[in-house]
């Protein structure tokens, strides 16, 4: 059920990242992953912007993801929207929660392993 996704990986100043629009997952103060879309323009001449296809993802309902975490993780989804990350069945994942939906992301190098463990 995991599918390859591509987007843009950006490392830049916090101010430049803060001005980004679109489906921006802020992975760290200086780093973001933008899913899909055109190459972003940033107000940081030293920004690193690269096309990134090294991820796999699946979109699930909040209820489905909560059940998945209940089986294979020691942490749970946040009550509100946001990005959380941790180990699911021993594999590091990121989960972007928005409303009643959530997108689970995993590095493509670990996607097959996670799929096998979820079976």
């Amino acid at each position: 059920m995991l599918e390859s996704i591509s987007g843009w990986r950006v490392v830049a100043s916090a101010e430049a990242l803060g001005a980004l629009t679109g489906r921006v997952l802020r992975l760290a103060e200086d780093e973001a992953l933008i899913i899909g879309g055109e190459r972003p323009e940033l107000a940081d001449p030293d920004a690193i912007v690269v096309e990134d296809s090294g991820w796999m993802a699946v979109t699930l309902s909040r209820t489905e993801l909560a059940a998945l975490l209940g089986e294979g993780a020691t942490w749970s989804l946040p009550e509100g929207d946001g990005l959380v990350q941790g180990m699911l069945l021993g594999v590091p994942v990121k989960i972007s929660v928005k409303g009643e939906g959530a997108q689970l992301l995993v590095l493509a190098t670990l996607g097959a392993e996670l799929s096998e463990r979820m079976l």
Binding site: S4, S6, R9, V11, A12, D30, E31, D46, A47, I48, V50, E51, D52, S53, G54, G72, T74, M87, L89, G90, V91, L107, A108, T109, L110, A112, E113, L114, R117
Partner: protein, 707 residues
Amino acid sequence: MNFDFEGHPVEFRRGDSVAVALLRNGIHPRGGGCLCLEGDCPNCLVVIDGVAYMRSCQVAASDQMSVNAQPFGEDPPLPQSADGHHPRHRELEADLVVIGQGEAGRRAAAGAAGSVITFEAKRGEEVVGIYAGPSVVARTNNGTVSVRCQRVIVATGAAQGHPPVTRLAGVLTSRAAATLEAAGVDLGNKAVVTLEDLPVIFEGEGRVSSVVTVDGRRLFCDTAVCDFGLHPRSALLRMGAGLEVEGAGDVTLEENLPPLPEEGVICPCSGVSVSDLESVWDRGFNEMELIKRATLAGTGTCQGSVCLPYLKSFLLGKGVHTPAPFTARPLSRQLSMAEAAAGFDHTPFRRTSLYDEHLRLGATMDRFGGWWRPWRYPAHDQEYWSVRERVSLMDVGTLGKFEISGPGAVELLERLYPCRVANLAEGRIRYALLLDERGYVLDDGLICRLSDTRFFLTFTSGGASFAEMWLRDWAESFGLDVRILDRTQSLGAINVTGPLAKELMAHAGLDDPPRYLRHVDAEVAGIHCRVVRLSFTGELSFELHHRVDQSVELWRTLLELGEPLGIYVHGLDTLFGLRLEKGHFIVGMDSEYDSTPRRLGMEWAADLEKGDFVGRQALIRTNRLPLNKRLLGWTMEGPPPIEGSILFHDQVPVGQVTSARYSPVLKKTVMLGWLRGEEVDELVCDGRRAIHTAHPFYDPEGERARA
């Protein structure tokens, strides 16, 4: 209702344990031996649904169950499959854990304040260990449980004493006899023997027919019922010594020890006899712990439940006044491998974007540096010769790959690397070591300059995650304005290597590939790549870094284009031999914890004149000391010795081999190995002469790589 025992149906009644059902049908679970039916002895062990060491008295009988005997003196068969055995693991918390739900346990639980969790073996809940915390770990019918708590009360009661070991059926403790009679099992004519009757001799063929007591009475019977006193089930209590763990009820009883028989086996698990005890005593094993280690008494399935009273009697007889029981450690009960692994997820190994391609080519995969990597392909001999004589591909997507930019980038790299960075021209590459503050080699890789303020760095496959931490930490410590991006997982890399590599690049549309130690961004077979020219194999090589979603297309196209050139692929096994012919060391394989550039023979890689860098002060200091160990090249005739083999000089060990391979092109074994002390020209390794030989062993001038 019935289950299968050794291929035959066994009828059981609701509430029967497996042991009770077998005994009702006239079957002793292990053929013979005194039974307690309380989980204390090893005499009812069976294999249930492929899982060995199951106490049949503790497992409720159920339909579809497959039960097999577990013979004495033989290892049970290993399960052929883990299918169906995936127990869950739960983590719980409580104020109090009470182990045992007899009268004392129930009273302790009822009177406690706060949250209480209870375990009872008769409910299929066996506590296997108490750890610091305290933390109580149990196996249950629904998987394993770990409970963190404030306090533990052990109310496991007391076990009935066993007679010395007999292999006859029909011998029971009095509690076992009561259990069977309550379950409607006819025991026939019973003879009851007590502590005063010991030592006793059981007589009969297969099943007991009479018992001879210490005073010579012969009691004829169908069942011998033993009432030999109580012995505290104190293993868990002893395991919790020093923790908030206390005993309640019979577990704190003073025990009446049985007299030691003159002969015979007293430990059914390890088959330890009275003469074995005498033998180890005579050899100086005069304490309980030493006797346990020398004989293995108490280390088996029942953890001393049967033999410990006899061991204490033995020591008392030798004048040891208060023989303490041996130390109790987890696990006190058997766990299946599946139960031990419940709740544990092993560290995942990453797969490159070419993983399925390797499988398609028939590769044998292995784990290396945190990745699944092809070790060998089916035409193994061709792997080597395609590199040395034609052209070959290797998946090197596992290399650590980083991009770094910003006004502080040059300064950061100058301070981290022992080589010069500022004078590296755009489009050029420099090999570099990475040192820690003591001047020891942490990793190695390439520095590729992309522009004034941008660099592309590579690290070893296993070193990437550490490298990011290292780069970020030092950038922050120095307060430098840089951006750092780990591209290891999003960039694939294929190494094209061999004397015909340039022809293959031309076939793929790259007519003007970069010169040695240079890089360009270019289209290769229609795919945008960063083409990096260097060599680890010793042959003309190009690393093609590209987006991971294009790896399969690039790999397949190159294989197709290379077919007229005799292309093949190579795995790690072959690469290790190729690089060894060139004398290239591998971090962590050939280098040691304290390997400096000087000890590795790579002083050229550290420019002490360029200004300060991490490790420089340590190198300046240690360079003044005598060189007491160095990594050198060695050659020898015949097959390679095992890596790690000792190097001898005048029969004194002076070092060890770190890598050794037979070189097909040089027709001798080439090796790297550490030498401690004075440099010598000849050593002995694996009983043969090893000659110190300058490396690279192959193409020492590097003409092939620069071609």
